[in-house]
Subunit: 356 residues, 2 copies
């Protein structure tokens, strides 16, 4: 089998700390397997500005397009607040340049972490849904966008092709899951949302085995808290998806656990934790590595079809959570390195009869 | 003293049911006081379409402008889904025509209702903040707005004057409360949000006694769940305010309790519960009247400076919640009328030594 090329965009502040953890787990989990990979370091985000003068250097785009997967850690932070192009600009641009139109964010509440949720257990128990966020259009990319002295303008835009493809993406995922789709919009006010709902309805007809319901985005913020177990696949425009996926992440107890995957029509997927670069805790060695480790597992499973290796990693994550080998944000006392070492040790012993 | 003119827009589905309750409590609470009022019924929303052919007839605008306050109940519903102008259109328009640029939504978790919250009590205990939502601009009113066959467009727009006045409104409220303001935006992506944050920062300088913090809207959805007690006054653009005020309402346990007030530079305020018209439970006599009763209290206190009468009503609400005289949505078994009667009885006896 060929050697897989993984572009590593190591991130800013806690970004590199958790990337190191993720790569250590990747290394341990792939040892003695047939999966072979090569890591290609490329400058991006704040690190891109520092090393190459821009948050998304052309060379990083080029090498990413050639890769089998792109692994990204959290980026941005106060250091680059006054940069002509901020790190976030690079993030929006790489999504767009790689045509990564769908961002997939799982929201799963496991028994091991249920106590970490701010919600009462009876509300979140058995929650297991996936958010499919449109990622390369909507309010994030619409033109004109103007910041003038006395006024400012953004544009929310959707074309038929853009909405249609994200709908198919979501409905197809639902067919492989529990065959239910929830469409989120603000169609009682916005034209782009009326459009969104209309196309959802049309595309839905090609998936007669999938049931559909519709929520206004404001009502959805309530339903995420009061009936999260009723959702399976949630298809949502870019800006609303940004907002609601953070709320959904929080009900699982810690945003520091959640991976995400961005996919396009062709080319490599991009994998990243959904949280930010947490400048306030950077350099202290206490960043929660779980999100990055889950991100690595997602990459192995989705881009490389290495489900067994991914399962090994997921088992390691369950193991540390169950044994409370976790960082302070999850109520533990361990450092990033200690947590990572526990996972690596677990994986090393995984093949032996004792653990399996 | 003069007779106050209150325009009553009675609403749709459960709207009239809870309006009846609110007016019964208003009647009881103002009996034997010097406060005198006149109710003026006007068609609006679905009721406007049915009675006058439009969700916001010109006559309703005219009479509202002349009023001392406008009392509105929940509007809209499936009956008018295919109307040329839907009920919601009337709501957006009355906000705009009366120039009601600020929508004030209290989020208060009282001891009596803490168990109804989906959040664990240790998270929500002592929550007491106010959302100040910009109401007449932003994504709701920006032009162009286009719904075409193959694409759709909405525009988010803010002028300097619009942002400046809502900031002053919020900062002034903070001065009368706990002197803390939270600015919500998505300034790492949107031009209108960068603009919002910049003006917040400038206006903030005129209020040196008020502290400020800034949240991205996505992060704010998490903070509303994990640290709602840290907020005092939250100043937020129209669309984000729509979304986050529902989330905030939900943490109090029931959106069926929360009043709101919309204010302009001059002219009458408009008071309305923040929830919808709940077509699914309309006609069953089980709608929760608390939101409308709280809305009436808010009107008495804020438009007519009748704090004592408002306090009497608030005491009646506390009384029914404590004694669990509540509708099914709050875990009770009473009808709307029974709950209302309990409040009216309480108020009638309020003046006697026994209760006071
Ligand atoms: C960092 C920011 C630009 C980004 C977004 O808004 O998409 C982030 O919040 C996310 O959700 O990935
Ligand atoms: C009914 C709808 C148009 C309205 C809005 O979006 O403003 C409602 O959700 C609200 O918050 O008052």
């Amino acid at each position: 089998t060929s050697i897989k090329k993984i572009v590593v965009l190591k991130g800013d502040y806690i970004g590199p700390e958790i990337m190191t953890a993720g790569l250590a787990v990747l290394d341990a989990a792939t040892k003695d397997t047939t999966f072979a990979y090569e890591l290609i370091d490329a400058p991006f985000g704040g690190d891109g500005i520092d090393r190459a003068g821009d948050p998304l250097p052309q060379a990083t785009i080029d090498v990413s397009k050639q890769a089998d997967a792109v692994l990204l850690s959290a980026i941005g932070g106060p250091k680059w607040d006054n940069a002509p192009r901020r790190p976030e600009q690079g993030l929006l641009e790489i999504r767009s340049k790689l045509n990564l139109f769908a961002n997939i964010r799982p929201t799963k509440v496991t028994q091991a972490q249920i106590d970490r949720s701010p919600l009462k257990p009876e509300y979140v128990e058995n929650t297991d849904f996936v958010i499919v966020r449109e990622l390369t259009s909507g309010a994030y990319f619409g033109k004109p966008r103007k910041l003038e002295a006395h006024q400012a303008i953004d544009t929310m835009y959707y074309s038929e092709a853009e909405v249609t493809r994200i709908m198919h993406q979501g409905f197809k995922m639902a067919q492989k899951r529990n065959k239910h789709v929830t469409i989120v919009d603000k169609s009682n006010v916005l034209a782009t949302s009326k459009f969104w709902r209309k196309i959802a309805n049309e595309v839905g007809k090609s998936y007669p085995d999938v049931t559909i319901d519709y929520y206004y985005v404001d009502a959805m913020t309530m339903a995420i808290m009061t009936k999260p177990t009723t959702f399976d696949v949630v298809i949502i425009p870019n800006l609303f998806g940004d907002i609601l996926s953070d709320e959904a992440a929080q009900i699982t107890g810690s945003i520091g656990q959640i991976p995400s995957m961005s996919v396009g029509e062709s080319g490599p997927n991009l994998y990243e934790p959904i949280h930010g670069s947490a400048p306030d805790i950077a350099g202290q060695g206490i960043a929660n590595p779980i999100s990055m480790v889950n991100t690595v597992a997602m990459m192995l499973s989705e881009s490389f079809d290495e489900k067994k290796i991914a399962d090994k990693i997921t088992a390691a994550v369950d193991y540390i959570i169950e044994n409370h080998y976790v960082t302070p944000d999850m109520g533990g006392t361990m450092t990033t390195d200690e947590v990572t070492q526990k996972m690596v040790d677990y994986i090393k012993n995984y093949e032996s009869a004792d653990i399996k």
